[in-house]
Symmetry: C2
Subunit: 234 residues, 2 copies
């Protein structure tokens, strides 16, 4: 039987390692809103929280710091960062460039199955908002975007975009429920789906870019109602 050509690797990290598990677990908690900006994370605390020894806990924290999901506030203290408006602006610009690219490249690979998947995800988003399950809505929103980006077939690109989401993700928690109540995203998501159906590259890019811009404006408006430029409650 003909064998597939040697892949040579490009393996992801082994999923069975404790450090990898700890990283995934903490990442999920961060995105889901288990921590707030300013919260301090210590090795021993994470170690107990996940019931592993200090080494995997340390690995997880180090990796999250590299990702930018956590930052040092002092030589021996890592915290969930307070996202400032300036940071958000910068990351938004990068998202526009990279996710616009991913959206444009996704058009070619979009098929019947993808459209259905996207429709389903959008329905989940709507349902979650109806029932005020805001974290679920945010989660499905992420799934919606990445379902599109995955079509680009570019693993490096996917990975970089994901770290950008991680950097801002933790700070979203303090913005609910105002953030999602206007449902700014629904229109853009429908536009994206239609662009994929029509195989319209420019429209797909525009839909995603609009979604990102609208989200940014929304966050800016909410943060304006709080103290200067700081995007978190406290």
């Amino acid at each position: 039987m003909e064998m597939a050509p040697e892949d040579e690797g490009h393996h992801q990290h082994q999923p069975n390692r404790l450090g990898e598990m700890a990283y995934r677990n903490m990442k999920e908690r961060l995105i889901r809103g288990a921590f707030s900006p300013g919260d301090k994370l210590t090795i021993r605390a994470v170690s107990e929280m996940l019931d592993v020894s200090t080494t995997p806990a340390r690995d997880a924290i180090n990796r999250l710091v590299i990702d930018g999901a956590l930052i040092y506030s002092g030589p021996k203290t890592v915290i969930v960062p307070h996202l400032r408006l300036l940071d958000l602006e910068e990351i938004t610009q990068m998202r526009l460039a990279l996710e616009g690219l991913a959206a444009a490249l996704s058009v070619k690979a979009a098929g019947e199955a993808t459209i259905e998947e996207l429709e389903l995800l959008q329905a989940k988003i709507d349902a979650a908002l109806d029932e005020k399950r805001y974290f679920d809505a945010l989660w499905h929103n992420k799934e919606f975007h990445f379902a599109i980006y995955r079509l680009s077939g570019m693993p490096h690109l996917l990975q970089v975009i994901e770290t950008l989401w991680l950097r801002v993700g933790a700070s979203f928690n303090g913005l609910y429920p105002e953030f999602s109540e206007t449902r700014y995203g629904a229109h853009n998501h429908r536009a994206a789906i239609e662009a994929l159906v029509d195989k319209d590259v420019a429209a797909a890019r525009a839909a995603i870019e609009n979604d990102i811009r609208d989200g940014f404006r929304q966050m800016k408006k909410i943060s304006a109602g709080r103290d200067q430029g700081n995007l978190c409650r406290r």
Copy 2:
């Protein structure tokens, strides 16, 4: 005396840590061409190489894997990756988007001092090529690009671009001296400098994008003269 407002952090990693030192050291070696694609890096080997214990060595390797500068070729083996044409294409697309953005944003902040610095760096590149010091040329080339990108004032952007360079950087070693002998970059660099002088945003972006595209074509051409799609000598 008036104190500066609390920065709250956004610290980089402490430079005095052994793991950080090991990381920097290995990164430098990778860029400078101390290793070739396919070389295996073990914790204990790095530990001896840098005369530190296994923990910092392990930290450094893990971080380089996260950066994409090293990859797993098996559950217990990390190697310097063989960059395939497909990977190079993808990273080139991301570079176009991100470095184009950085170049465009840099125009506003470009001043007299910057221009002089860039002229000096270009002179260093030319001199290095004249004397066939190809690694130095590559190094100064990097300095030239990042001197521009730094003007954008966007630390997140800088950091992401740097990891993209790291991903391809290690594979450049095998391409000398052919890669630089045509001096494809000189014209684009001059165009970039002039764009900064003229405060021409579109021209700055175009100059950088052209430089990236020309470099990509150059690499593709060289790799075509070797076996299929594999961008390294062996």
